[in-house]
């Protein structure tokens, strides 16, 4: 199986249409190509990371039709017509998602490589259960491995995002404001 010469523009492969972060995309790639590679190589959305390539670490977690999936285990043919959300689609209108803000303040990200997948898993949890308790948070993140934090600050970050969501959203910082912190 070859991919480089058969990237988005190739006519050899049938078109696969799906939405990524609310944007319609068409790719013409080998149908068994991993969704992870299509996102990274063909759509240049490199926020989604590969950690193990076998569905164990969760670094490549994305949301597909409202389900959390490991994009390394999904052949792209399965996403025809699907709605895909990646980490790039989490921040909206220039504002950090409450989870991103909480991870920033509470030490939820260290090296950052598991962070996109962790954020997607946490976002999935918050959509399903807006007020999760600690066992629910642990269970929801159990498919995402982090080697830096020991998970404690990730749990705290998710819990803080829950609190922030139930409080007023007026204090949210924009990504630009946050970036000025650099």
């Amino acid at each position: 199986m070859s991919t480089n010469e058969s990237a988005t523009s190739s006519k050899r492969w049938p078109a696969i249409r799906f939405n990524v972060n609310s944007e319609a995309r068409i790719v013409k790639v080998p149908p068994m190509k991993r969704l992870l590679d299509v996102l990274r190589e063909d759509l240049h959305l490199t926020g989604t990371k590969e950690g193990c390539g076998e569905g164990e670490c969760g670094s490549c977690s994305i949301r597909m039709n409202g389900e959390l999936v490991n994009s390394c285990l999904v052949p792209v043919l399965q996403v025809e017509g699907a709605d895909i959300q990646t980490v790039e689609g989490l921040a909206l209108d220039g504002a950090l998602h409450p989870l991103q803000e909480a991870f920033l303040c509470h030490g939820g990200a260290q090296c950052g490589i598991c962070t996109p997948g962790m954020l997607m898993a946490a976002a999935q949890l918050l959509e399903r259960s807006p007020n999760p308790d600690m066992p629910q948070i642990r269970e929801a993140l159990a498919g995402n491995l982090c080697r830096c934090t020991g998970f404690i600050r990730i749990f705290e970050s998710v819990a803080a995002a829950v609190d922030a969501q139930s409080a007023s959203p007026a204090t949210k910082l924009t990504t630009e404001q946050m970036h000025h912190a650099r």
Partner: protein
């Protein structure tokens, strides 16, 4: 000396410097980067642990004209990875000494064509007898490295051990073993290399030590300094695993770039990364200890053996740190310690958080509980009676001049964990319960920075400059890989210069831009590099006061205005400083005697463990970590370091087993190499006592490695407390628990009757 109340930025939980990029998914890791015309590289590796290469054949089913092929014959300089001992080839030349040793390199424009091509290179070997255990290596029947398999040895002696045994009330012996451990950074090893005759070699990569890679490339390519450039990309975890291995990988990719005429990316997949890259040194430590009737330590004889793998790599320095942490935070007048690192035919073992200390401390702290049991003293009390205090000397006869507050740390750990009440409760509940609970403790120190004269030898250079756009840049080769380098160094600079955190950035970790401030290892960044940055900032302020009219007090705007006046006069605004050793650091490398470390971080950890005697699983239910690490520069980052290290330590103790089969890692997948998940980590209660260290950056000592030292002995001591059975080997998996408990059971039942 600053105090917590007088700083604005140091000690505050400012946002992680590169945090927003990481959270938005736009931080650029090496695999996120493409170069024009980039090819991909792959490695043909040894399938046997030791032997001679008889022939290399290329299967005709592959069109090899499409590939760039590199062998040892293509190396323009020295076929050797420069580290401490020049023994490890960049590419095997005629013989192999471990499975997965790199023999030949391939590059192709399409990475998907590489896997088949790697399999189509057929290598015939004449196998030689391999060595797979420390014991076989010690016997020296087969020499696999040098004449005697001995990679390094140290002898440390204090007092007169031989006369001490006669005065002992008891002599307690024990043997303690630790296994290999994989770093399991979530981002695999990876680099991109470019080569041109005019500009030489440029490498981008996931790495800890740009100047280590720089040195390795210079030797392999025989190039001058100005023809080699190494740039660290965002690095997705390292833990020591990206201290030495990237030197090899960078040389491989650069050789392929030279041969192909294209940029070449080499990013390992997980299976290759696990099989081919370094792990923590396995160890076997034997203790023989004399105590008086009150439990005072009279003499220690320690024999420490480490498995170094097939090449020397960092084994000598790992062994050094193991040696210097072997006797724990205790006073003992008579010590003899033999430490040896032995060659075997495994992938070379390398740096991993703690760097030999976790192995040595596991043995010492496990042994302390066995001493306590043998003489019938509470393990807490035994430790307390032997703790180091100010004015005592440790094993290398280093005088403890800085505050040592082990008693205070112990008291706090006991209080916070409600240790005595919980132990009493478990003692009541355990007999009637299939789940046996116990409490275990470990007390330890971890030396900050390079050992002995190491920091003087490194002679690190670092500092700051001020850019015309009104930003201060921190100029260091110390890298960020999650632990917080970017954040704490910019905090220190902003604090020392009296400007805002947002006004300070990190210069690119690029050997073409930053000076050599040494490697990012050994818990040295906050203490050693932080201090250099603090001094460079003071030096700049003096220059600005003297030459650019900066007032005694000033606003950030006045500071930058003064910088521009200085720039107009001198062209640039830059301030660099070299490392200065604290006074009185004298180290004798021959006798292993003197000031082993500039400073020590101290800790007492407590684990609560539940052992299920039906399933034979052991679970850490709660964990308390009390430590003194000097000034805490950033409480959230610091606690995150401690928690992350403890989780790795829990994995080291109870989950993470490298399974070897004929010299190969058999479980080189995340499916079967098991690390703790979100469901496995207990609550971790982290507390700091802060005693600023005057020679560290704003009072900081090192803390990154410390938390990996304590969990394994604390957990196994808790299992002993819970079950009454001493387990002296890690990892301790359910099958090991079953065997140990089953073996102990008949005696217990007999006793019960």
């Amino acid at each position: 000396m600053s105090t917590p109340s007088t700083t604005r930025i140091v000690g505050a939980n400012v946002p992680r410097k590169e945090g927003v990029d990481k959270l938005l998914g736009r931080a650029c890791y090496v695999d996120d980067i493409d170069r024009d015309g980039m090819w991909h590289g792959a490695t043909v590796r040894s399938s046997i642990p030791r032997g001679l290469i008889r022939s290399i054949a290329f299967d005709r089913r592959i069109d090899w004209s499409e590939f760039a092929i590199v062998t040892a014959a293509d190396i323009p300089g020295e076929n050797c990875i420069q580290l401490i001992v020049a023994d490890q080839p960049c590419l095997a030349d005629g013989k192999v000494n471990h499975c997965e040793e790199a023999i030949l390199l391939l590059a192709h424009p399409d990475k998907h064509k590489l896997r088949e091509a790697v399999g189509a290179v057929q290598i015939e070997y004449e196998p030689l007898q391999p060595i797979f255990t420390i014991e076989e290596s010690e016997r020296q029947d087969v020499a696999v490295w040098g004449a005697d398999n001995l990679l390094k040895s140290f002898l440390l002696e204090k007092g007169d051990v031989d006369s001490a045994w006669a005065h002992a009330a008891r002599i307690i012996e024990g043997e303690y073993r630790t296994g290999a451990q994989e770093h399991l950074y979530i981002e695999n090893q990876g680099v991109i290399a470019e080569y041109s005759a005019e500009s030489g070699v440029t490498v981008w990569g996931s790495l800890q030590c740009p100047y280590y890679v720089f040195k390795a490339l210079r030797a392999v390519f025989d190039l001058p300094e100005d023809k080699v450039r190494v740039i660290q990309t965002e690095t997705g975890g390292a833990f020591g695993g990206k201290e030495d291995y990237p030197s090899t990988l960078a040389c491989h990719a650069a050789l392929l770039a030279m041969k192909s005429g294209h940029p070449v990316k080499m990013v390992y997949d997980r299976m290759e990364d696990l099989a081919a890259t370094t792990k923590r040194h396995p160890s076997c430590v034997r203790h023989r200890t004399a105590v008086d009737r009150n439990g005072k330590l009279l003499a220690m004889e320690i024999d420490l053996a480490a498995d170094g793998g097939a090449y020397a790599t960092l084994s000598s320095t790992v062994l050094s740190r193991a040696t210097l942490h072997s006797t724990g935070p205790y006073v003992c007048p008579n010590i003899r310690l033999h430490a040896r690192s032995w060659a075997t035919n495994y992938v070379p073992y390398g740096a991993f958080r703690g760097f030999g200390a976790p192995q040595a401390i596991f043995a010492m702290e496990r042994h302390m509980d066995e001493i306590a049991a043998a003489i019938g003293i509470d393990p807490i009390e035994l430790r307390r009676r032997n703790f180091l205090h100010v004015g005592d000397t440790n094993a290398t006869e280093q005088l403890m001049r800085e505050p040592v507050i082990l008693d205070q740390l112990l008291d706090r750990a006991l209080k916070e964990s409600d240790y005595h009440a919980r132990r009493a409760q478990f003692a009541r509940e355990n007999p009637a319960s299939p789940v046996k609970r116990g409490m275990g403790i470990a007390a330890f120190y971890h030396g900050s920075g390079f050992t002995g004269s190491g920091e003087v030898y490194l002679n690190s250079l670092g500092g700051i400059d001020v850019m015309p756009d009104g930003k201060v840049r921190v100029l260091v080769s110390n890298t960020e890989f999650g632990q917080g380098t970017n954040t704490i160094l910019t905090q220190i600079a902003a604090e020392a210069l009296g400007i805002d955190y947002a006004d300070v950035t990190m210069a690119a970790p690029d050997t073409g831009v930053v000076p050599n401030s040494g490697p990012t290892v050994a818990s040295r960044t906050s203490m050693v590099i932080g201090r250099i940055i603090e001094r460079a900032c003071s030096q700049l302020l003096e220059l600005l006061r003297e030459h650019a009219g900066l007032g005694a007090t000033y606003t950030p705007a006045e500071f930058f205005a003064a910088c521009e006046r200085y720039r107009a006069l001198h062209g640039e605004v830059v301030s660099l400083c070299r490392y200065e050793a604290p006074p009185g650091i004298v180290w004798d490398d021959q006798r292993y005697h003197g000031e082993a470390y500039g400073a020590y971080a101290w800790a007492v950890y407590v684990a609560q463990v539940a052992v299920d005697t039906v399933t034979y699983s052991a679970e850490v239910e709660d964990f308390w970590a009390v430590q003194e690490v000097g000034r805490v520069l950033h409480p959230v980052l610091a606690a995150g370091q401690i928690e992350g290290g403890i989780a790795q330590g829990i994995g080291y103790a109870l989950y993470e087993k490298v399974v070897w089969q004929d010299g190969r890692m058999a479980n080189n997948q995340m499916t079967n190499y098991i690390m703790p998940t979100a469901e496995d980590v207990p609550p971790i209660h982290v507390s700091f006592e802060e005693i600023p260290f005057q020679f560290g950056g704003f009072g900081a000592k090192g803390l990154g490695e410390l938390p990996h030292d304590g969990p394994a002995p604390a957990i196994l001591n808790a299992i002993r407390d819970a079950t009454g059975v001493a387990f002296n080997s890690i990892p301790l998996l359910p099958e090991d628990l079953y065997l140990g408990l089953a073996a102990a059971q008949p005696a217990e039942e007999t006793a019960a009757r």
